[in-house]
């Protein structure tokens, strides 16, 4: 399990201080898809970066199977790097514009795993097939791909090291509704296949309710609600969660 306990993150800029995350606790459990939902700027991306061991919390702990994931210890640990993977929000800038699709997906394999060239090629080819990326795209650069294709390359890259923990930061932001639906269905399908503990971060309440096994609602740096979700938005109790549900367009 990947567990963040009582995590607080404060940014200092000269004399001013901003607390992005306040005393937040969240666990990622194998086989469970957790959605962390909240407005832009509520601290959800900061919390996900702390969980992934990219930035350290100001206080609190993050443990993977009892081992600290807090940098800088995490950075030198290849096993941890391979086990927790993040798909970043802006697919365009997450990829090196000079790298081909093949190289973008192969890069984490080269850096974190010791595979032969033939094994690497087999894994990249199989990932491209799974993500429905035609083999003709292997030599293309990011600038030659559509938004949906870029997102698929980022997901393939994150899956390359067969991680046990996957974090998607705004996986469908900027995509039109039909592409969004296909990416969400793909994430759900991959989650079922791999059983990886998955955290999806989004501002999109509709996507959150569509995907969640567990839903955590964040408001101004705090997790105000965290509960299993079985398809009835009526189970959400916090006034802010209720407001998010009420603001969704009536479906009738």
């Amino acid at each position: 399990m990947l567990i963040a306990e009582h995590v607080t993150k404060t940014y200092r800029n000269g004399k001013s201080e901003t607390t992005a995350v306040k005393d937040a606790s969240l666990s990622l459990i194998p086989g469970e898809l957790t959605v962390l939902v909240g407005q832009s700027g509520c601290g959800k991306t900061t919390l996900s970066r702390i969980l992934a061991g990219i930035i350290p919390p100001t206080s609190g702990s993050v443990l993977l199977d009892g081992q600290s994931v807090v940098p800088p210890a995490r950075r030198k640990n290849r096993r941890l790097n391979a086990e927790i993977q993040v798909v970043l929000q802006d697919a365009g800038s997450a990829l090196d514009p000079h790298f081909s699709v093949y190289r973008s997906i192969a890069e984490p394999i080269r850096n974190l795993l010791r595979l032969s060239k033939a094994e690497e090629k087999a894994r990249v080819t199989s990932l491209m097939e799974r993500l429905r990326l035609p083999s003709a795209l292997a030599d293309r650069r990011p600038g030659e791909l559509s938004g949906g294709q870029l997102k698929r390359v980022c997901i393939a890259r994150a899956l390359a090291t067969a991680p046990r923990y996957l974090i998607f930061d705004e996986a469908t932001s900027g995509l039109d509704v039909l592409v969004k639906e296909s990416i969400l269905d793909l994430i759900r399908e991959l989650h079922r296949e791999t059983g990886a503990a998955t955290l999806m971060i989004t501002h999109d309440m509709d996507a959150a309710l569509y995907m969640a096994d567990r839903i955590a609602v964040m408001l101004r740096g705090e997790i105000v609600e965290n509960r299993p979700y079985t398809g009835d938005p009526g189970c959400l109790e916090h006034p802010w969660s209720r407001r998010l549900v009420e603001q969704m367009e009536p479906y009738a």
Partner: protein, 265 residues
Amino acid sequence: MRELKVSELSVSLKDKGQPLVDKLSFRLGAGESLILLGQSGCGKTMTCRAVMGLLEKSRFRVSGSASLDGGELLGMPEKHRAGIYGKKVAFVPQNPMTALDPSVSIGRQMDETLHLHTKLNRAQRQARIRASLLEAGLEETERVCHSRPNMLSGGMIQRVLIALALSTGAELVIADEPTTALDVVLRNETVDAFVRLRAKGAAVLFVTHDFAAARRLGGEVLVMREGTLVERGDVREVWASPEKEYTKALVRASALSKGARHADR
């Protein structure tokens, strides 16, 4: 403004035959809204750019007609366009950050625009700016006026641009995916600002791929795919009973959580 009338509008790249917009016609009157809805690449943004005269003549071939109160907009000389756009016609882009100068406060930018397009004195301009911000749903008018664009959220900047359209008394507001990156609360606040704009008599041409945002705004919807019209009608009626499979897919994808996902598991 009495009406924007677009007839048989077609747009294609000069070096390719395939039309990006194919014989599209619609009419939009004062106090009404019209929604162009479809996926990326369906021609909705291209339609707006053609109406605004923003397509380079060297790259695009534009035919048909787009008239504002009888005056033809297509092929209008640059000096005549300058008298219409920014004053009678306002544009709210998808990425509002790039529409404003990042180094200048919101208050000063709004003041400069009013100075350019109206004959108001400074005190009148300041009063108009604050009233417009309030009307666009921005209550902290002083904070907004003193902020630079990067100090405000995307949803607030969208509403600053709506306030700008309100302040200059724009009669036609063209909005390109103004709610795409916003959460449901900000999305609704932004759409509601367009509703207020419409209530003041402005015509709103609204581009989106999101049926939920379109439904909240109301008005006539034109569902587009690959440059052609798929279905049209009152947006709430089309949402409730779409006829075409493509429209049904868009309605479903705009309200995913309504589906039987959890029952399927």
